[in-house]
Symmetry: C2
Subunit: 527 residues, 2 copies
Amino acid sequence: MITGKNYIGNQLSALGNKTFKTFNPLLNIENQWIITEASNTEVNQAAELAAQAYKTYSKMSGAKKAKFLRAIAEEIEALGDDLLQVYSSESGLPNGRAMGERGRTLGQLRAFAKHVEEGNWVDASIDTAQPERKPMPKVDLRKMNIALGPVVVFGASNFPFAFSTAGGDTAAALAAGCPVIVKSHPMHAATGEMVSSAIINAAEKTGMPNGVFSNLNSSGIEVGQVLVQHPKVKAVGFTGSIRGGRALFDLAAKRKEPIPVLAEMGSVNPLIILPQALQNRAEALAKTVSGSITLGTGQFCTNPGLIIGLKSDGLTNFINTLAEEIVKVEPSCMLHPNIAGAYESNKANAVAQNGIEVLAGYDADVKPNYAKQVVTTVEGETFLNNPTLHQEVFGPYSLVVQCQNETQLEEIISNLEGQLTGTIISDDNEIGAYTSVVNTLQNRVGRIIFNGLPTGVEVCPSMLHGGPYPASTDSRFTAVGVDSIKRFVRPFSYQDWPNDLLPIELKNENPLEIGRTVNGKLTNNKI
Amino acid sequence: MITGKNYIGNQLSALGNKTFKTFNPLLNIENQWIITEASNTEVNQAAELAAQAYKTYSKMSGAKKAKFLRAIAEEIEALGDDLLQVYSSESGLPNGRAMGERGRTLGQLRAFAKHVEEGNWVDASIDTAQPERKPMPKVDLRKMNIALGPVVVFGASNFPFAFSTAGGDTAAALAAGCPVIVKSHPMHAATGEMVSSAIINAAEKTGMPNGVFSNLNSSGIEVGQVLVQHPKVKAVGFTGSIRGGRALFDLAAKRKEPIPVLAEMGSVNPLIILPQALQNRAEALAKTVSGSITLGTGQFCTNPGLIIGLKSDGLTNFINTLAEEIVKVEPSCMLHPNIAGAYESNKANAVAQNGIEVLAGYDADVKPNYAKQVVTTVEGETFLNNPTLHQEVFGPYSLVVQCQNETQLEEIISNLEGQLTGTIISDDNEIGAYTSVVNTLQNRVGRIIFNGLPTGVEVCPSMLHGGPYPASTDSRFTAVGVDSIKRFVRPFSYQDWPNDLLPIELKNENPLEIGRTVNGKLTNNKI
């Protein structure tokens, strides 16, 4: 069932001579499947096919694209438990997580299906002609979103389903009318092939053009580099490290025709605990935060890696309880030996910084690839002056910063790099006295949370998953939720275009009854 | 009245020791005003002030920002004829054009005032909590657009009002809640100072924070380079040459924190004339096109620099008439000796290419800085193989490409660089047989026009002014119309945020009665 080949459009292909295997971190052994890397020939074939497919696929109705997206969901479901087993064997993530993430992935595909079927996403706008206007007649102008072109999607290591082959980026791009070429994540290439087979089956069953989807294997960076520089590729979606995302961004910016790279990258997701909250419920908070730090072995992009509070008995109490709680959590397996290794070295580097005090860390022996959680603490002043301490330690690691006063707290927040999220823990009404802190935090993050936890990214229209650099390369877009389709579209205007040649969304008759801004007023009436 | 100083916030300032003068191309003499270039100190001051102003200005209500924008329009009007005279003396453009462009600029400011007053532009989206949801409760999420941060605007040489100091980019950024630093165009620095004084007066009268606007002079590129690299600057708007826009884009992409550069650059605006139209009305078309080529001395970004048709008697007739008509037009003055000089050398280079035939050109003597119009023609095959012929010759120059057949026509279109506009001239129903040509053209342009001319960019919500690179650096945004505000905003999510602390646009009560997507449905009701 798993061939290790690439999908160049609907053809399995293995022209290259480099192979690799994926790894089972739980068993600490290589998986059996031999994965063949895509050759440059195959990369070019996939890009050319995608450009060809774009011509017809970008013009397809919302109803047809919806059918395709729903068929993908059905085909993934039809892979059943086999898929979940391959997922776990390539990620070390448990079956429950596999099921949950599959559910989320199917939900995303179906949400986009509904979104494009309804059709409002094209943001149609119509200004009708005024031939009698003086001194110049006014032309008829009609604008709507159209697909940008072939999109390359780089799968994430930590979400083999939801942010990978048929994940959010792919669903958004396909919904927009863009063919997709996935650069499969090397840690879960077999999972990627299975999901790809579902997409290809769905494409064939619903009559999509060949090339609407391709899946390319690669254990290194070269296939990705060639893809991002390919003239037929018009946008890139990426979820992963700052280093990886920035390298792709730089390549794309240097192209003769620069293209957008929508990279969702690192974040330490600061959690600010206000004094009264610390005073009144330090212990309960410490227990909750301990769970959030270790959830999924700390391998979520919204993992709270930085906790900030004002020095007080409450903060001391919080720190002591967190130290007690964090070691009670049973360590769990990381995604891959490389990730476990990076965690160990990043953690060691963080802990070795001047002024860092280790509050507690799991210290019994663990199985290979399992991560020992650690929490540390540091003075505000020390944190401010050491950029190393601002860097993400991907895994179950968190740093508590103890601030001298509110001024220092605000200074620390304003000096943070861009973040996906920022959280304020506050007692009732306490937050009202911290307007300046909240405003400063808002300027550094994409989503602000009141008395909650950053982990758990709800997939809904009002979610913003992104933020100021380096949380993402372009804070003007979200990577989660139906609005993520906006990354892969461009508005397009028709001037004085004959009604019968206009796309259905812009015709006078408005057969889809979508909402349109007509002469400045939103309406779903015909003209 | 004109001091030649910079505005660092509301203070006139001239700390630098480099000065320059602007030029009157009609009289072919330097203007009297001595303009002082901004020093690095002043650039930093302006950026720091803007970052400071952002804290309060970004939080201002739509009503307050609208008052400010309308006050700018009033203050510009109050400058009266003096402003128009300075405009003409720095551009060579006639009084009628000055009045028309001023009207357009005031209209833009007022359109943005209305836009932010109404408030729908924030694209509010609310997903209410479901505490009982299984297996996980659903949090309350609310999303809206917020201001990106301080924006740098580079004024355009060819629109001293509408795309400069208080032009579209400035109006859009201020409407969004972003302070603006204008890098004044050196060719119309005195005009820029007058308009800046109007903005500063308006800011003071309506209680805007100091730093909401600054205006920096510079005859070279250094001030602009420092601005684009300044850490407090969060976005850049630019209108001008490909070389200039790309240089800024490259600088911004290399920053530690890359920022968006929204550059609207070159375009040759291809005009495709279908065979029946050529057969039936070649002469009338040639007369109209001749007027469009020479309008405003060919100094519009939508000037039709490329005309493409299939070889036929009709095309020959068109060419002959165009040759007759183009020389009847009285040459007019270009904006500056440098622009006139560039036109001459670009034209000379284009004309010197192999296979180029000059159809007609104005050949009597003209005054200094006046542009002699030229139309040329070339075989389709020759055009395809010579990239030099694809480049814009900014001025009253146009090239007619004669295609062997429809296949070649389509190949030529598909090989064009990205364009602001593409025009199809067709007889009734003729266009129906050219679907593939139209689709190919659509992929290369931002706006497609039926039986019209690209010149004349209507300012309305349905206008798309932009297009695939190099027409603009990001085809996902428009530079004209109220939607251009989207360039300078980012969506932001509030999770479980207390209702009384939410911005007015997201409160349950919906006091502004704006349209909001509530649990997936658009409504202007309260919750």
